[in-house]
């Protein structure tokens, strides 16, 4: 018998006025997998994240987590279902200290024991009382990750974790994400522009272009796919 995927995006469409952001996109993530979601700018990757976290309601289709639909769940209850996320352009609580940002992440939980552990894990414990907005961009991204981890998620959605990082930082990030999966028993869905990172980290890759799925498979399969090469490099004349 086939195991049920942890996350099922089932023929989801989302339109904004005349613009089709997602068109019948289906995407499954098995428990314990790292899945990369890639595509050119405007392909609908962040829209997909916003649909999964219920910031957007899809026009058609369903999103199921652990077998149950998420569509009846309000955005603020998503984290209780076990889904946490980071944002493309770092959405920190700028007026709060690092530790308070992470405590907000634990808001939906009963205790705050996870906060200190998480701060140590992402190596932020020494700056925990600093204002979040005082820190350099790369560190702010770690605060955001710590906030997501503090909620004790089963599924972690990372929106461009490599964005704005230096070459060295990106290399370390790859190892870090794989280690994260093991240490926190996570399933990870990763939106990323940095092709090298996705190809080295992801078990499977899902490619969107203009809101449609154009390919999916292992990194090697996707890299050899004609449609993918066209989408990234433009169709041959």
């Amino acid at each position: 018998m086939r195991r049920l995927p942890l996350l099922e995006v089932d023929h989801v469409s989302k339109r904004f006025g005349g613009i089709v952001a997602l068109e019948a996109v289906s995407l499954n993530v098995e428990a314990g997998e790292i899945v990369g979601l890639i595509g050119p700018n405007g392909a609908g990757k962040t829209t997909a994240f916003n649909v999964i976290t219920r910031l957007y309601t899809p026009d058609e289709g369903d999103v199921r987590f652990d077998g149950d639909s998420l569509l009846g769940t309000p955005p603020s209850a998503i984290v209780r279902r076990g889904i946490a996320r980071t944002f493309q352009n770092v959405e920190l609580f700028r007026g709060l200290s690092v530790i308070d940002n992470v405590r907000v992440g634990a808001h939906a939980r009963q205790g705050e024991e996870s906060v200190d552990d998480v701060l140590f894990y992402v190596n932020l414990h020494s700056v925990r009382h600093r204002g979040a907005s005082e820190l350099p961009y790369g560190t702010q991204k770690r605060v955001e990750l710590a906030r997501a981890l503090a909620s004790g998620p089963r599924l972690l959605l990372l929106d461009e974790p490599a964005g704005g990082l230096s070459h060295d930082e990106v290399e370390r990030l790859g190892t870090f994400i794989r280690r994260l999966r093991g240490d926190f028993e996570l399933t990870i869905l990763l939106v990323e522009h940095h092709m090298g990172l996705v190809m080295s980290v992801a078990d499977r890759v899902h490619v969107l272009d203009f809101g449609r799925t154009i390919a999916e498979g292992t990194p090697a399969e996707v890299q050899a796919d004609k449609a993918v090469i066209e989408a990234y490099l433009g169709a041959p004349a």
Binding site: L55, P75, A77, I78, A84, F93, R103, V104, H107, R147
Partner: protein, 340 residues
């Protein structure tokens, strides 16, 4: 962090001592003036929770003060089923009635933000004074309602003004403590999170609807208490007691005190009282400056002075008195902190 806690507690104890001793050093009428400053302070505490912490602006808090004031007037004059209620007991009721009104305003406010919310709340401030004129049997029309003069409780040997002072500041200190406990706990953190990023707050499990309406309710509760005390001190209410400009003054006091600094709000409250009532004194001081001659008797001079002082204060300390305090205390606390 423990150091910061002790600094804050020490500050509170010092404030309590000052409040308790101050009437000995000032005249009876000054005590009354200070009591009114205390009422503004209470209203500003509420506004700070709403605007400074949850990030929702209100240009209509004068209306919530009016609701509190009218609740007290109705209960003491008309009474509850014909039984007049003693003014002291109407204070918490006034807070609750205003708080419920705040919750009701908070619901539509969920869909609005920034400028639109400012306009809606301003609309409330504008329209509210018309209600007593419409329901003049019940609310007394433009003449308003006359309350019994406030008297110290039987057996307490003190003047009325001193009594109003201690009553107001006693309540103010309790409400300051409550506000402080609220903002430093989980609720305050959730409010600040919403202020800084609504999407991230929602994704962290914070219900925007619940916390934003809660902030409106609490904030209006504070304003209602302030309005009730104001009615008791004045011994009358009418639409002019809570004019539209009162709501604007409160926002001014909040900006001067510092959006999210609770003790700084005392300075904001003092400034709005002082500039409303003693702008001519400021004009006299300013006349000592070279090349300035202001006629303190000239009509409109108080508004000019108010505006000018406000511009100067905001230029010098854009983060308000609270920001100034923090800047002075910050190096001290961080140094001690890193050493420990």
């Amino acid at each position: 962090m423990r150091l910061r806690l002790s600094v804050e507690l020490l500050g509170f104890v010092a404030l309590t001592a000052i409040v308790a001793e101050l009437p000995r050093f000032v005249g009876d009428y000054r005590a009354r003036e200070l009591a009114i400053v205390g009422m503004y302070f209470i209203a500003l505490l509420g506004l700070s929770i709403l605007t400074g912490y949850s990030g929702q602006i209100s240009l209509g808090h004068g209306a919530f003060m009016a609701i509190g004031g009218y609740t007290t007037a109705i209960l003491t004059v008309n009474g509850f089923y014909g039984h007049p209620v003693r003014d002291l007991w109407t204070i918490p009721i006034a807070g609750v009635v205003a708080g419920i009104a705040g919750l009701l305003v908070g619901v539509p406010a969920l869909r609005l933000s920034g400028l639109y919310l400012a306009l809606i709340t301003f609309g409330i401030a504008v329209s509210f004074p018309q209600l007593p004129k419409k329901f003049d049997h019940f609310l007394g029309g433009t003449t308003g309602k006359i309350l019994n003069l406030a008297k110290p409780p039987y057996g307490l040997d003190t003047t009325t003004n001193d009594w109003i002072y201690y009553l107001t500041w006693g309540i103010a200190l309790v409400l300051l403590l409550c506000a402080w406990l609220l903002v430093r706990g989980k609720t305050g953190r959730a409010l600040k999170a919403i202020r800084d990023s609504e999407v991230a707050a929602a994704s962290s499990g914070i219900s925007l609807a619940r916390y934003k309406t809660l902030a409106f309710g609490i904030s209006a509760f504070y304003a209602g208490i302030a309005g009730s005390l104001y009615a008791i001190a004045n011994a009358y209410v009418n639409p002019d007691v809570f004019p539209i400009i009162l709501s604007v003054y409160l926002v001014v006091g909040l900006a001067v005190g510092g959006l999210d600094s609770l003790p700084g709000l005392i300075a904001g409250a003092a400034l709005i009282y002082f500039l409303q009532n003693h702008a001519d004194t400021v004009a006299k001081w300013l006349n000592h400056l070279p090349a300035l001659s202001l006629d303190p008797k000239q009509p409109g001079i108080s508004s000019v002075v108010f505006g000018a002082v406000l511009i100067v204060v905001m230029l010098l300390v854009p983060t308000g008195v609270g920001g100034l305090l923090r800047r002075v205390l910050h190096p001290l606390t961080t140094r001690l902190y890193t050493r420990s």
